[in-house]
């Protein structure tokens, strides 16, 4: 008789728990990371009777989670990728948005500067035009600095975000370690039953960690999880945590590197930290801010160097040799903080047109130097002390110690150091330093044209240089121009063959073209351009720099080089956005797959409630029937 009560009671108890669990599911339908819990029913051990095994009721073997380790792992991996991509896209968009604004773009500033140069050439002797040109140069400098500032600001934001992220990672790792500890002790206490809610909580923490950085996790005995960073560096082992820390970059105190804390020798593991926000932040420094500043730097260095060089080839309004319009720029060299040797490294531009925007690391191993391109990874070795790479000359003086290294960034600082040096608008050299005059007694049609100056070392001229045509200049019957006023032999010029195309001649840094048919004794004079305020030849040469392909080995004008920067950032942003969209879709898909297994469906729970309620009512009925049977028996026997 007691069997029926026992069976009824076992059913009531079990169903009550099942209803409770369903209630728990309903209650947590909106709890993030919650896995639907399931009650596993089992029959109680049967009793042996003469007729065979007699069932003795129901029991609950376990309350477990609907959980699929594979799907959970997939969500984690996708989370790391998606957060990596969206952070990357966000960082790229910030620069893209700045470059998009036409009011602050470099293009209009370059256009305005060179328009002012043209206006100076139009009116070389007039001061107001020159003043405008100096002002436009200042606007251009402002614009370079503005962009450089934006890149640096992004760099600073990234530094702050890296520090925040590292703090978050450490706190998440600590949480996971302490949850590991609780899970192990609860599992033991519950005789091996899983502590479902704690497991869900840890899952949440792992996913949160994956948002910050790419991780691998391995479940070990008694439910603990070991967490490893991308490269295999252990972050959490059971309840032990090795936290990350940030420290100054060995080349740049303003920049931070990430390493494992508590080690005697700080080692930068930044390049091993892939995925998650941290991976994107560390990547963005090299792909967005460094690359952007370097490309901007190439344009800035180009403008400053070529404009200065051209201005130095001219004469200012006072008749003096032109000086620098912009402050001259030079490569920056940073010795590694840990260097112990006495060596210093100097770098200078040999050919600004050959600059690539890359930086170089020069390291010394005790016998040889290795010069490696930090962008492409290409490297050369040599005994030193002179190196030449991509338009930059590098010279080591002193003795380095083995392991010493220097970072040579030819243009990284150029955007921020770009400044106007000239303050007196009369200092703009619109005139050329020499002019030519044909003698008034020339009877022939010989002309001297296209006088340009390529080198002012021999200028101003000590005496006028006179070229006089002589039919026998180079021996009887060999015509040419005798040169006086400068130590040079006669210039061969035969009107019979050279008239028409003319010939190009260079002497003393000046080049010119001779053409026509001169008569004997016809002469030309090259003289200093005294009082030549109305001359605009050098001004025209300055203006021509705007469209000349001077950068990247003669393939790009200043504007082209800037357009390359805009295009690079735009393509990067576009790519990053598209990757972010894809990764987000993949993450949503992984979450869908996971939630289809572990999420709570309220309709399902409602149906379960009905089912369990009905079963409960039936079980209660069993007890009632048992009671009635018992009552019947009592009444029968009690009479």
């Amino acid at each position: 008789m007691s069997d029926i009560f026992n069976i009824g009671t076992s059913a009531l108890t079990s169903l009550q728990r099942a209803i409770t669990t369903t209630g728990h599911n309903i209650a947590n339908a909106n709890t993030e990371g919650y896995s639907r819990q399931r009650v596993d029913f089992a029959t109680l051990p049967a009793q042996i009777s003469g007729a065979g095994f007699l069932g003795s009721g129901v029991t609950i073997t376990s309350i477990s989670r609907n959980y699929d380790a594979f799907l959970a792992e997939d969500v984690r991996a996708r989370t790391a990728s998606a957060f990596n991509a969206s952070t990357g896209a966000d960082l790229a968009s910030r620069i893209d948005g700045i470059l998009a604004n036409p009011d602050v773009g470099l293009g209009p500033a370059l256009d305005a500067f060179f328009a002012a140069v043209q206006d100076v050439s139009n009116n070389p002797a007039s001061v107001p035009e020159r003043l405008v040109m100096v002002r436009e140069a200042e606007v251009l400098a402002d614009r370079f600095q503005y962009f450089d500032d934006r890149f640096r600001q992004l760099d600073r934001q990234i530094t702050l975000q890296v520090e925040d992220t590292v703090r978050d990672i450490n706190s998440l790792a600590t949480n996971i370690a302490s949850l590991n500890q609780q899970i192990v002790s609860e599992t033991v206490r519950a005789g091996g039953q899983p502590p479902n809610d704690l497991l869900d909580q840890r899952e949440q923490q792992l996913n949160a960690l994956a948002e910050k950085v790419g991780i691998n996790s391995v479940t070990v005995d008694q439910g603990a999880v070991n967490v490893f960073l991308g490269s295999g560096q252990a972050l959490v082992i059971g309840s032990e945590v090795s936290s990350l820390e940030t420290f100054s970059d060995p080349f740049d105190v303003g920049r931070i590197a990430v390493g494992i804390s508590g080690l005697a020798l700080q080692s930068d593991i930044s390049r091993f930290l892939r995925g998650g926000e941290l991976g994107a932040l560390l990547d963005a420094r090299s792909t967005i801010t460094d690359a952007g500043r370097n490309q901007l730097g190439v344009v800035a260095t180009g403008v400053a160097t070529f404009v200065n060089a051209q201005n130095r080839l001219g004469l200012d309004l006072y008749g003096n040799a032109g000086g620098d319009i912009f402050s001259p720029l030079s490569p920056s060299v940073i010795p590694r903080i840990s260097n112990t040797g006495s060596a210093t490294v100097a770098a200078s531009f040999a050919d600004v047109g050959a600059l690539t925007g890359d930086s170089y690391e020069l390291s010394y191993d005790g016998t040889t130097y290795t010069l490696s391109n930090t962008g492409t990874g290409a490297s050369v070795t040599g005994a030193g002390p002179n190196f030449s790479v991509d338009g930059v000359d590098i010279t080591v003086t002193g003795t380095p110690a083995a392991g010493d290294a220097f970072l040579i960034s030819p243009v990284a600082q150029a955007g921020s150091l770009f400044a106007v040096q000239i303050s007196d608008p009369r200092g703009i050299a619109a005139a050329a330093p020499v002019r030519s005059a044909s003698s008034l007694s020339n009877g022939g049609t010989g002309v001297l044209t296209d006088l340009t100056v390529t080198d002012v070392t021999g200028l101003p001229l000590a005496t006028d240089i006179t070229l006089t045509f002589n039919p026998d200049a180079l021996g009887a019957g060999v015509p040419g121009y005798d040169v006086s006023g400068f130590a040079a032999g006669p210039i061969a010029y035969d009107p019979a063959t050279d008239n028409g195309a003319g010939i190009e001649i260079s002497i003393n840094g000046m080049s010119f073209r001779l053409n026509g048919t001169p008569q004997a004794g016809d002469s030309f004079v090259l003289e200093n351009n005294a009082d030549g305020g109305g001359d605009n030849r050098n001004g025209l040469a300055l203006a021509a720099l705007q469209t000349a392909p001077l950068l990247f080995n003669g393939t790009a004008s200043f504007q082209d080089a800037y357009a390359t920067l805009v295009a690079d950032v735009a393509v990067q942003t576009r790519q990053a956005r598209s990757i972010a969209d894809t990764e987000d879709a993949l993450l949503q898909q992984a979450i869908s797959s996971r939630d289809s297994v572990q999420g709570v469906n309220l309709d399902e729970e409602a149906a379960n409630l009905i089912r369990l309620q009905q079963a409960y009512q039936a079980a209660a009925r069993v007890i009632q029937i048992g009671d009635e049977i018992f009552e019947t028996l009592l009444n029968a026997t009690g009479r």
Binding site: A29, S93, G97, L99, A100, P102, P108, D111, A112, F114, Q118, S121, N122, N123, A125, R435, A437, S438, L440, S441, N442, G443, A520, G521, E527, N529, D531, G532, G533, G534, D535, N536, R537, L540, T547, Q559, Y562, A563, V566, A567, V569, A570, V571, T573, R574, R577, I591, S592, D595, S596, G599, V600, N601, L602, D603, E604, A606, A607, L609, I610
Partner: protein, 402 residues
């Protein structure tokens, strides 16, 4: 594949599609508000670069337009100075011809000399003209230095051969100035190869009425000396070159050419013994010198036959020099005209280029409004549908029936 959905999932999926529709709508709205389809370079990197290129081109064309306008005004200034000069030179020619007439007396020649003097000053004023920036038009690079100064009848040049160019298109420069030496100092002299003058001490009436040179002309200064030691001797001539070497000699016949080393000089009249005609091989002569020389001769003239011959020689020489000066002026004027024509053509080309670049810019970055508005309507419908289905499906729950 999945037949089970969690409640949270259906909610989030429904919400996500609404948010997505809203984002698309927002984008279209922004495009319509700005009228541009490129909101940031990342929307279309190659278009963004094109926009930069086109904007640079447009800025350049605008600058070239300004340069061309300036070039035209400068050249117009030069053109008007040159045409004034032409008028003056024509007047000087008239005066020169007038002064050679037999009706002239020393007094009337003096009057002509006075007018010529004024004309010389007028030429000087033209040669020293300035532009709106207070710069001299004809002083070459030394635009702040007065190019021509006159002392007595000598005009000297302080400028140089410099010529200013302006850029009116990429790689295309047009000269906006001509130096004073080019306009005033470099006309060819005489017949183009040599000029002549009668010695002031001549006592005869020899007058040069023509001269020419062929390609074999050897440039040098020559003296044609007439010899008639005794009145009964035949009148002969001897020609010496710059080193006093005799190069030709013969019997003088009035109106016959005297030829030597590729040159021919036709002399008429009656030269006296030791009269000399100089052949000056300096190939160029300043127009100021031409006028000044004529003034000198006119002022010194009296009513003798010798003086008439001197005037006739001077006028003959001056006329050929004036012709060369007018030729030279015409050459410069033609040059200026061609430059103005080039500017007009280039401006037309620039205007066409500007138009096509603006069209290209518009194609690259401007929004197709018709397309955008129909897209907006479509997106509105899609958003409404998403919202409605969300509300409808979220309302369904089994709990409503328990």
């Amino acid at each position: 594949m999945v037949d089970r959905l969690s409640t949270l999932q259906t909610f989030q999926l429904g919400l996500a599609s609404i948010l997505e529709r809203e984002a698309e709508l927002q984008r279209t709205q922004q495009e319509l508000a700005t009228g541009q389809k490129l909101l940031s370079p990342a929307d279309d990197p190659s278009a963004a670069v094109q926009v930069l290129d086109i904007e640079e081109d447009l800025a350049l064309v605008e600058q070239y337009g300004r340069n061309a306008t300036l070039a035209r005004s400068q050249l117009s200034l030069e053109e008007s100075a040159l045409s004034q000069l032409n008028i003056v030179l024509q007047r000087v020619r008239e005066l020169a011809i007038q002064s050679n007439s037999a009706a002239q007396t020393p007094e009337t020649r003096n009057t002509i000399a006075v007018e010529l003097n004024e004309r010389l000053n007028e030429m000087l004023a033209i040669a020293n003209s300035k532009d709106g920036n207070d710069e001299f038009l004809f002083s070459g690079f030394q635009s702040r230095t007065q190019p021509f100064t006159r002392q007595g009848n000598t005009v000297s040049y302080q400028g140089d051969d410099g010529q200013r160019f302006l850029e009116i298109a990429q790689g295309s420069q047009v000269a906006v100035r001509d130096s004073g030496s080019r306009v005033f100092l470099q006309p060819r002299a005489g017949n183009g190869s040599f000029d002549f003058s009668a010695d002031a001490a001549n006592t005869g009436t020899a007058v040069v009425t023509g001269s020419s040179a062929d390609s074999s002309f050897q440039r040098d200064d020559y003296r044609i000396q007439f010899i008639q030691a005794l009145p009964t001797d035949p009148l002969t001539y001897e020609v010496y070159d710059g080193t006093a070497t005799l190069v030709a000699s013969g019997t003088y016949i009035s109106g016959n050419g005297i030829s030597f080393n590729g040159a021919t000089v036709i002399v008429e009249g009656e030269p006296q013994h030791d009269d000399v005609i100089e052949v000056d091989s300096d190939p160029r002569q300043s127009m100021f010198v031409t006028v000044a020389e004529l003034i000198d001769v006119l002022e010194a003239s009296d009513d003798s036959a010798t003086s008439d011959a001197a005037v006739a020689n001077a006028v003959s020489s001056a006329l050929s020099n004036l012709n060369r000066a007018v030729d030279n002026l015409l050459e410069v004027q033609t040059d200026v005209g061609v430059r103005l024509g080039r500017i007009d053509t280039q401006e037309q080309i620039n205007a066409d280029f500007d138009l096509s670049m603006r069209q290209a810019l518009s194609d690259v970055q401007d929004l197709d409004f018709a397309e955008a508005i129909s897209r907006l309507n479509l997106q509105l419908v899609a958003l409404q549908a998403a919202q409605q289905t969300f509300v409808t499906t979220q309302r369904l729950s089994l709990f409503d029936y328990i």
